[in-house]
């Protein structure tokens, strides 16, 4: 299906329901779909499971969702930051569940979900606390941990530009988790700076094919 084109971020996230699992793109501010996260805050959905590299910063975006106890579980690689006070408080109060995953395993698990892989052996984390309780195996003399895919009901990501088929291009290191999260979600909701007519993106440079994109919302941008 050609993607639905929403006119506002609120409309784009309107289908997100309580107890949803949501992949949220971005690494630092680069590629972070801030307007979609704000709209998720406004839409009221709660009891969420969120997958993001971090666990929110300062008093904005994901941090506010956590402050309001709308996130029951977070899967991330780096929750603790100088300004992650809302996560820290929720975590110490036992009011948020944390699944800590090495960043490359997080990326590969998301990729596996989109690629239909049932599980994979990764050397990262072998022999560490983060492999405890997981199946391990020595292959050709090297230790590996079995990791499972991470799929989700929704992905909220940010790209630079889309065509009306939903094909996406990104900008510099803002690409980060976007392409793999779009593929791992049942419904990928994408904020872009602008939508161009189909035929305006060179097929050779499309990074995320439109097949992975369900909803687009153009919000303008600085670029």
């Amino acid at each position: 299906m050609a993607p639905r084109i929403a006119t506002t971020a609120a409309e784009a996230v309107a289908n997100i329901h309580d107890s949803a699992t949501i992949l949220i793109g971005g690494f630092g501010n680069a590629g972070q779909p801030m307007e979609l996260i704000d709209a998720l805050m406004d839409c009221g959905a709660t009891d969420l499971t969120v997958i993001n590299n971090n666990a929110g910063q300062a008093d904005a975006g994901l941090a506010l969702l956590i402050k309001e106890r709308r996130v029951k579980k977070i899967i991330c690689s780096f929750p603790r930051q100088s300004d992650s006070w809302h996560f820290d408080e929720a975590y110490r109060a036992g009011e948020i569940e944390l699944e800590l995953v090495p960043q490359g395993n997080l990326a590969e698990r998301i990729r596996a979900a989109g690629a239909g892989i049932g599980g994979f052996f990764t050397p990262t984390g072998y022999g560490t606390l983060l492999a405890e309780g997981k199946e391990t195996r020595v292959i050709d003399g090297k230790g590996y941990v079995l990791e499972s895919p991470i799929s989700a009901d929704f992905a909220l990501i940010k790209a630079l530009r889309a065509d009306t088929h939903g094909n996406l291009v990104y900008r510099k290191t803002a690409r980060n988790f976007g392409p793999i999260m779009a593929a791992a979600a049942k419904s990928a909701i994408v904020q872009i700076d602008e939508i161009v007519e189909t035929g305006q993106l060179d097929p050779e440079v499309v990074v995320t094919p439109g097949i992975y994109v369900n909803t687009l919302v153009a919000l303008g941008g600085k670029n």
């Binding site: 299906m1 050609a2 990729r111 979900a113 989109g114 690629a115 239909g116 892989i117 065509d163 009306t164 088929h165 094909n167 593929a183 189909t198 035929g199 097929p203 050779e204 499309v206 094919p209 439109g210 097949i211 992975y212």
Partner: protein, 219 residues
Amino acid sequence: MSTFTTTETALTRDEMAALVAADIPEGAFVNLGIGQPTNVSNFLTAQQGVTLHTENGMLGMGPVATGDEVDEDLINAGKIPVTELPGASYFHHADSFAMMRGGHLDVCVLGAFQVSGSGDLANWHTGAPGAIPAVGGAMDLAIGAKATWVMMGLFTKTGESKLVEALSYPVTGLGCVSRIYTESAIFELQDSIVTVRSTHGISFEELAERLPVALVRAA
């Protein structure tokens, strides 16, 4: 599920292809296997807005290339020169099969040697002694799409049903086929129940007699 229908004569190959094409949902992402399924593309309408995937790394494949359009870098999975439609994209082989295996395609249409009542598919290997096996993307196509449809003749040259209770040819994929288009009937497969949607040049009763699997007539 559609209402049961019947026609006086068996379907031609083009009629089968047209029926498959008409059943493909608007806006669907589709992979058409080599052989008979390729013909389906000739019956898709522009209004349907169907996007064709070719497993050698492309979405948005257009019709077969002719004349000056022929470009050796732009071929389909059958190695035939094709064209590119607006909105196309290219990707490498691992990404292309990830797209398929990950369940992102809506429909895949394949040929078959045999299909079982529970949707098992055989289409890659006769298993004949001395045959050199070759699989290509058959096993990936069989199990990857949200729906796998088969187009085949219902009977072998010697009159045996190719819709079987259990495969005698080597398996391509288990429980993957949900619909079969043949010249004599169209079947829907779900939870090991075989429903006949239509018959063509044969009555439901005759069909039920000739096939080794229990059939249900669509309402």
